[in-house]
């Protein structure tokens, strides 16, 4: 069988890669891509803790499903914001968005 540590190390690495993407990409859509990677890393952790703990306690899978719902709504609102900003300012580079209201 696969030890639990392999899943945890993989998800820590995926989280760090997503963090790097969020911190260093210029494009706002690419920043949202990094957030998706981080949410997936969290989900791997939750499902593996469910499997390696007591499988009759469904909390891990239930909260993985709730993370799916949160990720879907975050992406829908985030991309709507990006498209709205693009219509008004004609850019999606995060550094160039320096006004609160236009």
């Amino acid at each position: 069988m696969i030890p639990l540590s392999w899943f945890l190390i993989l998800s820590a690495a995926l989280f760090s890669i997503g963090l790097f993407g969020v911190l260093s990409r210029k494009n706002a859509v690419a920043i949202l891509l990094g957030i998706e990677l981080m949410l997936n890393a969290v989900n791997i952790n939750m499902v593996s803790f469910w499997r390696y703990g007591d499988v009759s306690q469904m909390a891990g899978q239930v909260f993985a499903i709730i993370v799916f719902a949160v990720a879907a709504s975050e992406v829908a609102v985030g991309l709507a914001l990006v498209i709205s900003v693009y219509r008004r300012r004609n850019t999606v580079i995060a550094e160039e968005l320096d006004l609160m209201k236009w």
Binding site: F15, I17, S24, A30, V62
Partner: protein, 175 residues
């Protein structure tokens, strides 16, 4: 090393390699396509972990909806066909250090936990995980409240996304 472990290592390499491509590739369409590869690898991991329902939901919701939404957004927000200029911020090497420190901190914290290298008990063959999951989602003694809150959140996000991205016709006095 068993066959399952070799399979896990291959899937992990695919996930890490494609997620590195997501955060470093210049073309955002390619980044969204690499994200699909990453999400599919994670779905395979769910199947390895005996969570078949989550693997299906991962393919349907993440690959079927979220990745396609990303591709739509990229296509709606680009001026030129090719991306010019650097895609990373100036201080990106500092962010590499921050990411490595995060990984190191997580690894140090996890390896000091005494359940770090435990292996799973065999999955009970007569156990109906999907039925238990369905019961847990709608049982008042379990998780019906977070489930309903998640549905309200999805409704709010739907209304909010339509409101924000709605393009008012020209001449509209609303600002």
């Amino acid at each position: 090393m068993t066959v399952l472990q070799i399979f896990f290592l291959i899937v992990a390499l695919v996930i890490l390699g494609s997620s590195l491509m997501v955060v470093t590739t210049r073309n955002l369409i390619h980044a969204a396509l690499w994200l699909i590869v990453t999400l599919f690898g994670v779905a395979v991991l769910y199947a390895v972990l005996n969570a078949g329902f989550l693997a299906v939901v991962q393919v349907v919701v993440y690959i079927g909806a979220i990745a396609i939404l990303f591709i739509f957004a990229v296509m709606l927000t680009r001026k030129e066909l090719r991306d010019r200029g650097p895609q990373l911020n100036r201080g990106w090497w500092l962010n590499v250090i921050i990411a490595l420190l995060t990984f190191g901190g997580l690894f140090w914290m996890l390896q000091s936990w005494n359940g770090f290298s435990k292996t799973a008990a065999a999955f009970p063959s007569s156990y109906d995980a999907l039925g238990q999951l369905g019961n847990a989602l709608i049982s008042p003694n379990a998780f019906v409240l977070p489930f309903e809150v998640a549905s309200v959140l999805l409704l709010a996000a739907l209304v909010g996304a339509v409101y924000i991205a709605f393009n008012p016709p020209s001449g509209d006095s609303r600002k």
